[in-house]
Amino acid sequence: MASSTCDNWFIENILVHEGLLTQFLSDHWRKSDEIPDLRQETYARVYRSAVKRRPEHPKAYLLSTARNLLVDRVRRDNVVSIEAIADIESLEICATEPSSELLSSYRQELRVLQAAIEKLPPRCQRVFMMRKIEGYTQRETAQALGISVATVEKQISKGIKRLADELQRTEHPKRAPGALPNRRRRDMDHD
């Protein structure tokens, strides 16, 4: 049922909008500690239906799925406010796909990554830098840093969760092809 092409579609068209989704959920749901559940459930619903048929406007579909989920929750939890339901139901979700303000350059993306890595606790940060910048395997990282492979694995697990929370907050560009497009030196971006 689930296929790898759906996985890649999901990463490129749905997960890129997590910042928007989280903002939407926070704006319309008072209990902030329930946001990760609502987010995960929204994703699950989108994935299940996308396997059957891809939505034409992924961003709009994501947000209306979230909206419907909130309506369901409101009803399920027997929250009394009728305005709350009406409010949520009346939320206009744009049917069209306005082009979002994507991070404009490779350099900006690198800076975002760097800022996220710098927020990691020290040992986690070192492990990630060796693994992802220097390209050492986990085993080589353990040897170079003089720690156990189990510790390295734990740090990767800890770090990837934190990085996801941090990085998923911003809209980011779809995966780019390998090299930069051909550019004359003068045309390179200056911020």
Binding site: L15, Y43, L110, R131, Y136, A164, L167
Partner: protein
Amino acid sequence: MTKARQIEKQAADWLARLDACGELPDRDRIDIGQLRSPGFSEWIEQSVNHRVAFLRLLATWQRTNRLAALRTATHEQSINTPIRTRRNLALGVAASIAVCSVAIALIVWTQPVDETTRIGFETVLGGRETVPLGDGSMFELNTSTRLQTRFSSDERVVILESGEAYFSVAPDKSRPFVVQAGHRRVTVTGTSFAVRHDENTFEVIVEHGSVAITGLVQGSGSAETVLQKGGQVLVDDDDVMIATRTDGEVAGMLGWREGMLYFDQTALVTVAEEFNRYNTTKLIIAEQQIESFEISGTHRVDNLDGFARLLNVYGFHTEFSADQIIVTRN
């Protein structure tokens, strides 16, 4: 922990485990169905929530693949070197880890090309940045400087596009260190020196060791000019000057590394030009007659007020406006 957070933790543990088993290559497209770690496919199939949680972390993991562009040693060098010699690399790696937070701040672009990764660095007006490299070398960018590194397994090339940089080069006979400035090349094996290259100016100052310069003047072909310790070459438009400087003079010329400018009977107009490289407020010498007044001494690059007061002591009038200091006779 909420249910979602529990699942996210499981997904993170799975990702770390798959990576430990070498199942997550640095590629942008991974087929989850092909991942073979025991128990993983059962866990993924258990619930769509597991799958989306895992995809979310996988998306982040793949985004961090871009960080490989910041590697300063070549992939071959860091991966295929046997573990025993890798311990020496660990020092270099530690240095490059330290640099990543510094260097990333001024990296303008990166571009993988064949077996090398090109990295562009740039400082702003008045800026100064130190970049230690994975091989133990380092370079320092002075104000308004643009520079590119192209390190491969054969050579260490730095392209000084414009501006001024100081280099301290770790010896490596197998990989010459070359600074390319326009059509000129400065080749070293282990030494410290500075290069300046702007539209009309090219200058090299050797602190320690020796350098060989080719292409010094147009049409010099492969003829080499060799500079030893204290050696200075200065090409200004068409004038070529070669000199040997004392340790003290060299230190003065490299004073910018500590944020200091050193003048020795330097014409006022040249002093003003020098200050103007570092400051948005510009010194204007408004009268031709005072342009060649000689200034000696040491000054902080950014202390224009102090320098203006000194000019007053010499009997000059200084008028401050929004972004200028106009200097005239009193």
